[in-house]
Symmetry: C2
Subunit: 391 residues, 2 copies
């Protein structure tokens, strides 16, 4: 069972965290977070955006994670440090060096994450981030998980944390993300910590499995970020080595919980849409079909208007290569079968789309596999939030 | 040169057309069109949506076009006759039979097109369409091109016609389309007529070449229709057999003119965005890169807000497999270079995005090929039009 918690990344033993405000955000809100692993283990794994346009912190962190040792993660909001040239990369490098110096660890074991406007990363940005490292290290505490989760927010309306406790060991995490939510791996900034005893290779395998069925199934607006990463740290402080399957299941639970929180807070959304594709010939087919609907603006606008426009669902899935007969598909909306075998079924009036939670089931009738994709509707507020200012 | 004309499909000699109102539209506007080829040639070619979810008229017309003989095209707005089962297919069949009977031609040489809400195609719909054929045949005239172009409108704010006249022969056409505008082939209903002397195989080759660089480069909202088709008819009434290249160039001009009219009338749009991808390694790469931007909601919302957010351009193109170095790309907006070689260039304030016509140039710096994609911005009105009612 998932337990709600105010701790996030400091729920597991062996971690300290902090969130501080150094003026990267014009609002004065917290904008630099730091998470430190006090051990005894210093194992880590991470997954990164598959976008070829990668921010400087991604390029740095992909190197830093390669030895499976992570001492700390430094994250800033208020600037993506992406497409900021060699100056921007040096800023990321200096961030890791500053944290390493203050913590007495190797800079190569410090992961760096940034989020905010692409192209932001000048001298002022650098000075503030470095000041944030100094203040953050000074503010580290064993209950700093809340402050850290607040410091990584951008257009998020609330901080996102999740904790799963098992017999003697715990996994906790925090996430930020409200736009550019689409798969590629990750799709947001996430830090997850555990006090279980696991090696880096075990963490890596478990993290890839968990993100593949959680964050990778979230496709809010079809736009893939340049800065996404999910980092998992193990301190071993519990002294317990869990069964791999039990750990994987708990980790998936934390990831799925955070993914749901990201969906629920997506920019401007008025519906959280769960797309279940069932009786597919393969999981890959089910994902492809679900994603084609999740990225169809006409379908998403119809849901905003509480219109059970199943024709747009069929028009969307017809663009895929998945195995199915378009004239033998059933479509259900919020429990009502609106289309069966290539024709209309229950009248539109029978479907109530006013609740925020929306369930779309697409029955392909060809196999035994299935997948669930999470998305949101396309609303006036989405357009407003993404046109009224740069983000 | 493209000439504006009030004739459209009846600009070329040898054609008659009509548009009538039979109550398929609740507004009382014209909703059934018919275009008849009076010969002496009865050659035709067509391209169809590549969506696997195909409307009944598409399934019918793909058969009807196979012998290269087309006597007439019957089109209705006010109902897509898609996912309406075998009853819907019989409606299409009866439409062709009715037209064949009244015109004294084989039903197998009658192309049928429908547009409107998916799932619409009941007994009432059938009766009205058949009545429309009767009224339409009675109203046929050599200057019926205007009425026909009006009868195929759905959410279009204006009728769309284009004519190109050459030395002794003419090509004219009409189009409808304002939403579900994305490639696949076609993306709308289009009928083009010519009095040139050309065989069906020549028409087919010319039509595929012309649509590939016109309608297929229009990607207004990324949503592919179930009903799109472009039909080209030749009457041979001019007695002139044009050079293949000259005919192809004129046909491309008509198609490009109609495509621009479709873009300019896209649902809710406030910007017509031309995306030029230059110095690509191949045309396919250029198209892929351009399309990735055309389908990026964050970029499209930024343009609506007159925000030259080039970071969203790079984030979009980074998701493609095209050959280029993301850190050596230049981006120009309305003549201002806002990003060069992976870093910011001119300040955002230097770019004026207030005109409706918007030019985005992406210089990939790897080759000599290029392509242009046409799209629109993502606006409040787009969301409104596609959520406030079923269409």
């Amino acid at each position: 069972m998932s337990a709600s918690s105010d701790q996030g990344v400091t729920a597991a033993a062996g971690f300290e965290a902090a969130g501080v405000a150094v003026g990267l955000k014009s609002t004065g809100n917290k904008d630099v977070a730091i998470v430190v692993n006090r051990g005894p283990l210093k194992a880590g794994a991470a997954v990164f955006t598959s976008n070829r346009a990668k921010a400087n912190p991604i390029i740095w962190s992909q190197q830093a994670i390669s030895d499976g040792v992570v001492e700390a993660v430094v994250l800033n909001s208020g600037g993506a440090n992406c497409f900021t040239g060699s100056f921007g990369f040096q800023t990321t490098h200096q961030t890791a060096e500053k944290a390493g110096e203050l913590l007495g660890v190797s800079p190569g074991d410090v992961i760096v994450c940034s989020t905010g406007l692409i192209g932001t990363g000048d001298e002022v940005f650098r000075a503030k981030v470095l000041e944030g490292v100094t203040q953050g290290v000074a503010a580290l505490s064993a209950d700093g998980g809340v402050a850290a989760s607040e410091a990584i927010m951008t257009t998020d309306s609330k901080a996102k944390r999740a904790v799963v406790a098992r017999d003697g060991w715990t996994i906790g995490g925090m996430a930020k993300g409200a736009g550019m939510l689409a798969p590629g791996l990750a799709t947001m900034l996430v830090v997850i910590t555990t006090d279980a005893v696991l090696e880096a290779s075990e963490l890596d395998a478990a993290l890839r499995e968990a993100t593949a069925v959680s964050f990778d199934r979230l496709d809010s607006d079809g736009c893939m970020s340049t800065n996404d990463q999910v980092t998992l740290l193990a301190s071993g402080a519990s002294g317990i080595r869990p069964d791999a399957d039990a750990f994987g299941a708990a980790l998936t639970e934390v990831c799925a919980d955070l993914a749901r929180q990201l969906q629920a807070d997506a920019e401007g959304a008025s519906h959280d849409i769960t797309i279940q594709v069932v009786h597919a010939a393969s999981v890959a087919d089910a994902v492809e079909v679900g994603r084609s609907v999740a990225r169809n603006n006409l379908f998403k606008a119809a849901i905003f208007g509480n219109d059970p426009n199943w024709g747009r669902v069929l028009a969307a899935i017809g663009t895929t290569d998945a195995e199915f007969d378009p004239y033998d598909v059933d479509v259900w909306m919020n429990g009502v079968r609106v289309c069966t075998a290539g024709g209309p079924d229950a009248p539109r009036e029978a479907v109530d789309l006013t609740p925020r939670a929306t369930l779309l089931v697409i029955d392909l009738k060809v196999g035994d596999d299935e997948a669930t994709i999470l998305t949101n509707d396309l609303t006036h507020d989405y357009v407003h939030e993404n046109s009224a200012y740069s983000s």
